[in-house]
Amino acid sequence: MRGIKKTFMAVTVVGLALTGCSGDSGGEDSQTLLIAYKKADPVLESLMENTKEQFEAANEGITVELSPIEGNDDDYATKLALSQRSPDTAPDVFVEDSFKLRADVDAGYVLALDEYLADWEDWDAFNETAKEAGTGDDGGIYAVPLEADTRVIWYNQNVLGAAGIELPWQPQNWEDLLEMARTVKAANPDVVPFSMYAGTMQSFYELLYGTEDGALYDEDEQKWVVGSQGFIDSLDFLKTIYDEGLAVTPAQALDPNIWQEIVGDMLPQDRMGATVEGSYAPQFWQEGADYEWPEYGEVMATSPFPTQNGQEPGAVSMSGGWTLAVGAGSENPELAVDFVKMAMNFDNSLAYTVDASKIAVRNDVAETTEYQEMNPFAKEVTEVLEVSRYRPATADFAEIDTAVLTATQEVVAGGKSPEEAAADYDEALKQIVGEDNVIEK
């Protein structure tokens, strides 16, 4: 019997060795640049293809290998992170969600770009707020912003006008929002006057960052905020609009596909007064889009989201967006950075930004008429970038973001009071980051 076992083992080991050896791809050579990006977006795809063409023409002997990755944002992040674990598969340049950047910097996947960008004239043309998207915890630059977005109130002028609200409507504080919503509801109980998602980016953070002590994270102390009154007030505002029936029903609020109903049906059919959406909303309604709505330019209008009591700077917005980063293990960082610079030069950036209906990250692009006329709202939503904030996207942030989401959902649909939900969040936060990393506000 022992003999059999031995033979067995020996053959097994050989088999394992054979299969184990096949992964050797010989590493990457310095004449090839590997570029990773998410495949879903045709505008991004054409930016990458055009840049590849231009880059190979300008740098003889260099091959640019495009590696589009299919899947949703989470899948993309996972696949990218896995490819970064091995030098054989790590891309030289990759499109990175600003939300994930700091975590990847912590992991040592991302090259610090400060010295490479120092002599790049174009860098001064980039918007200062947008640069925040590529900034790491240590204040260094790790990525060049590809695009930005902001969040504003989109309102239906037919609905507000019919209720006797003076147009253009310009709310100065939260009370103005509630007043409008109550007026609209009184005038026409069948419409949804003012809806905010039971979520974070389009909803809770807009509120929180407009309160006096509102922030999730204290950048100076590098600690997470607990026990904040702003947190409770923000939850309380959400509770008010849901309890008074000013927003969609709690069940709808928790449906991940509710936004389709809002942009596709409720707003175009004059069944909703106002909601908070991204600056990219025209993308839904433009010609050829999924929810094409030829009159959207005349019916819809925007307003910046006001701060709680109208305090400085008067309005608030949250921003996110994709960036371009260079792999820390790149064999040819100079060349990789050159690729980033070329992708984000004036012409390429203009074409990409306009086609994708995004907020320009370059001031010179923002000033072109082509950009300002890309849709009726381009100018308004771009101005909001001044007051816009990025999320403190540290390595733990995905989990913290979910804890915030849970708090909003518990208040909107779970029957918890704002105080209880805020206390639960504080507990969850301490579990995630540790007692030592929180600060009482």
Partner: protein
């Protein structure tokens, strides 16, 4: 698959029995050893593949669950050995007992009770039904099983969601609209999984029932046994081992169900349908905490192992 393999192994053991009992030298002659080795050779590819693609990941999962390995962040660079910390966190995580309970409900409701009983009932009824009815009914049941899981999941979503088929139908009948996925997400998932998986149990039982010799049931009828009595004292005891095998397979399949739940409810609302596989996925891939995610996976693996052992023991007892 495994019952067949188990049966094969038993048969082989029986055949070997006389050889093993016969007195033989301590070291068998080289020719015998060679022959035995050669006999094992055809198994080799399967064993190697199993080791590489099943054993390897399982070992890695065990190892990973003792580290703080992350998808990104500082711990992605240098994962550290943290011993049982992940398991300790798991035991204090309020989400864990909740997910465990939901997983239990899901397995019990949709597999052990739903698929199993409905499958048996269908198989019994179809034995009696006329050929056309049986064929049509069989096709309907099997259709859900044939669909790729993702497609079945989308169909289930389209059926249960607020403006979905179910509410349109009940609306026609004048019944109030119920938001199934919001108010009763687990119930909707249980029904979805019963719909999707019953065909498997039904086919298992159809095969088993075909093996019950008709003369036994006939003689029971002559002895005056009614329908329920025949089922209880004749049919069920005769297909006991099929029942155990079927239970084991569907329990394991249902324990690991991910796509259906992820697509239909995404674990929501408010974690109301976050079973263990969803929880493991969230931790590992949404929060990037691979170590913690694998710890949850290991727990699932152990639960599956316990069930398998229990069922296999049941099978063995039946044999004796």
């Amino acid at each position: 698959m495994s019952p067949a393999r188990a049966a094969g192994a038993t048969a082989a053991r029986d055949r070997d029995q006389p050889v093993r009992e016969a007195p033989r030298p301590r070291t068998p002659p080289a020719s015998v050893r060679l022959r035995q080795a050669v006999r094992l050779l055809p198994l080799l590819p399967a064993v190697v593949l199993l080791l590489v693609f099943l054993g390897g990941p399982i070992l890695w999962a065990f190892y990973g669950s003792f580290t703080d390995a992350g998808l990104t962040g500082a711990s992605a660079r240098n994962p550290e050995w943290i011993g049982l910390d992940n398991y300790r966190t798991l035991l204090t995580d309020p989400q864990f007992p909740h997910s465990l309970w939901l997983t239990f409900l899901f397995v019990l409701g949709s597999a052990v009770i739903g698929q199993n009983c409905l499958g048996l009932a269908l198989a019994l009824v179809m034995q009696r039904a006329n050929r056309v009815v049986a064929a049509v009914a069989g096709t309907c049941v099997v259709a859900a099983w044939v669909l790729p899981e993702i497609v079945a999941a989308f169909i289930a979503y389209a059926f249960f969601f607020r403006d979905g088929m179910l509410n349109q139908l009940t609306g026609l009948a004048g019944l109030p609209v119920v938001d199934w996925l919001y108010e009763y997400p687990m119930l909707a998932l249980v029904f979805a999984n019963i719909w999707r998986g019953t065909a498997f149990s039904m086919m298992n039982y159809q095969a088993a029932l075909n093996d019950v010799p008709p003369e036994i049931t006939e003689s029971a009828t002559i002895d005056g046994a009614g329908g329920m009595q025949r089922l209880r004292f004749i049919t069920l005891p005769m297909i006991k081992s099929s029942i155990a095998t079927n239970l084991m397979l569907i329990t394991l399949l249902t324990l690991g169900t991910f796509t259906l739940i992820y697509v239909v409810t995404g674990g929501g609302p408010l974690n109301a349908s976050t079973t263990l596989p969803i929880m493991a996925y969230e931790q590992a891939f949404q929060y990037g905490d691979i170590g913690y995610g694998t710890a949850i996976a290991v727990v699932m693996l152990l639960i599956g192992a316990v069930f398998s052992i229990a069922y296999i023991r049941m099978l063995r007892e039946r044999k004796d």
